[in-house]
Amino acid sequence: MSEPPYPPPNPEGPAPAGPLGSLGPVSPGDGGAARLASREAESLERPPGKPAEPAPPAPEKARSLWSDAWHDLRRNPVFLLSALVIAFLLLIAVWPGLVAGGNPLQCDLAKSQEGSQPGHPFGFDAQGCDVFTRTIHGARASITVGVCATAGAALLGSVLGGLAGYYGGWWDGLLSRLADVFFGIPIILGGLVFLSVVTGGSVWPVVGFIVLLGWPQISRIARGAVVAAKQHDYVHAARALGAGDRRLLLRHIAPNAVAPVIVVATIALGTYIALEATLSFIGVGLKPPTVSWGIDISNASNQIRNAPHMLLWPAGFLSVTVLAFIMLGDAVRDALDPKLR
């Protein structure tokens, strides 16, 4: 069978000028025009309706999934808005004094349930404490619980679930049954039992309890996503070309399995902040003198007819916080999917 020394003209793009195996660029003196022409030729093959991407600036530094995602996120208004809100919340969580100078524990019963006044924009609660100061200072406890519990549950859940999904076998079975056991514990009852033996009422036992009950949810999602991702051809291909288990898991499977985990984790974050409020309400979560939105919301809920402002401010902050994290999660998930680019 004789073959021509050079291939037939290539409809997918101009054939390179250099001989086979030339190491340099496509051709010497390959100017911008030639490059544009070849881009054009390539773009002709795209399915109709799919616009060719604008010529990106010469990508000199290595692009990675994360740097591309960051590039996209910086231009996404949803991301910018939610990041701004979260930045503000983190700021008041760390330095509440910057925004609200007063002491949240200094209350004047004479002002009980009074409305908005100059210097006290949100009014006063039943104990005569300044609602503005308490709301700002309450961010620390609520956000600590929300962020730490979510981070803990997501980390534990995705590591255990990911390993279970990847290796399968007895380890998978053991872990899935263990997750089932934790799923079976009723949250309120578990909270009463677990947290009543821990004294102090600080945030850490609450975080620990939520992580303990929260990881099975994440691990199930992560396991499912890893099981689905590992069956793809590109995982077989990477294995066939010599990638080891660690590289397969971290580089090929994890980025393809992370999206559902992010979505569930951001939704869980809102649930966890609300759970902290619930636990505080039944008296086993955070306890005064700790200031938290959950405590304030539960205190205010009896007085909603007389003084709605007592409930609306902390509840409003809670809602905005949860919304901001969910929007952030959504934006990050979209940015991590190159097909949406």
Binding site: P16, G24, P59, D233, A238, L241, H252
Partner: protein, 330 residues
């Protein structure tokens, strides 16, 4: 042949399924010399891909299991070798090209990153150097404007370009042997020819062994040196490509060749092999092809034919190979 690059001896692979044990590969033996192209030909389900996966060590197990045989690569048995040693051979000394490049390339990594990974994994190269090599590699498989496109994602390339990238990944470390599992099946006809030409050319340039798994007889005739025809998990005929096309020595091969549309038989009815390939859970006793074979006799229903030597470098697993050969010569 003791100096073969890859020699598969009596390989058996089973899959445990709900319906029973599916015997996907039942004693495949074949060999590839350095610089030789072996085409493995067969219908869907004849065990071609499973053999390739078993050789590469990427069989899904469970449910798949190698139950016997040897896979000798340069005299070393891959099946008894340590997992880490074997992993280092994969990609470096023997590589694989997959059928559908869109699903075989990771959608969240740029093609440059995936090409560079070959150098990072096997040679510990820095990311910057590996990237420069990736661009060279893309040039070599003739991707236009490689420098601009190294940061693009797989879905931004056309089918033919993606398959070139798969080829580039397999070629990256200049392996001794490439197994290409139906490399052109997912492409349209014009692009198929280009990709095959490129593959054949690069094979010659690097002097690699190539195992080409396909069911396309046209592709085989152009590129292969030797052909192994598989049926129901066995090699039924093994012959140099010209001899096999000139005169098949197995009724199944004969049937395959007759079922190719040919210009010189225009207007006549196209021949088809009657019946279906056997279920791998329940392979017929004797010669697995006998229920569909026009030459089947009593001995075919009871005795399984071994590979009879027909000529030097040629063998056929048919009790009546001589008769078949004479018939196809006339």
């Amino acid at each position: 042949m003791s100096d073969a690059l890859l020699e598969v001896r009596d390989l058996h692979v089973e899959f445990r399924t709900r319906d029973g044990v599916a015997k996907a590969v039942n004693g495949v033996s074949c060999s590839v010399d350095a610089g030789e192209t072996l085409a493995v030909l067969g219908e869907s389900g004849s065990g071609k891909s499973v053999t390739a996966q078993a050789v590469m060590g990427i069989l899904d197990s469970p449910p798949g299991r190698v139950t016997g045989g040897q896979v000798l690569f340069r005299g070393q048995d891959l099946l008894t070798m340590g997992a880490e040693h074997r992993r280092r051979l994969r990609g470096d000394r023997l590589a694989m090209i997959f059928q559908d490049a869109l699903s075989a390339l990771n959608p969240v990594l740029t093609v440059g990153a995936q090409l560079a990974e070959m150098y990072e994994v096997h040679q510990g190269m820095t990311r910057r150097d590996a990237r420069a090599r990736a661009i060279t590699l893309m040039d070599r498989v003739r991707i236009p404007a490689a420098k601009d496109r190294v940061g693009d994602y797989p879905h931004q390339f056309s089918g033919g370009m993606r398959q070139r990238i798969m080829i580039a990944m397999a070629l990256a470390l200049e392996p001794d042997l490439i197994i290409a599992d139906e490399p052109t099946t997912a492409l349209d006809v014009t692009v198929q020819a280009q990709v095959m030409d490129l593959l054949a050319e690069l094979r010659r340039e690097y002097d690699m062994g190539l195992v080409l798994i396909t069911h396309d007889l046209g592709v085989v005739a152009d590129v292969a040196d030797r052909i192994a025809v598989m049926y129901a998990g066995r090699v039924v005929e093994n012959a140099p490509v010209r001899d096999l096309y000139a005169a098949p020595a197995h009724p199944y091969t004969q049937g395959l060749l007759e079922s190719v549309p040919r210009l010189d038989r225009k207007g006549k009815e196209l021949h088809a092999i009657k019946g279906l390939p056997p279920s791998l859970v329940n392979i017929p006793p004797g010669c697995p092809f006998h229920p569909r074979c026009p030459r089947a006799r009593d001995v075919c229903r009871t005795d399984r034919p071994p590979l009879f030597p027909v000529a030097p470098g040629r063998s056929s697993a048919c009790h009546f190979w001589k008769e078949t050969l004479d018939a196809s010569r006339s």
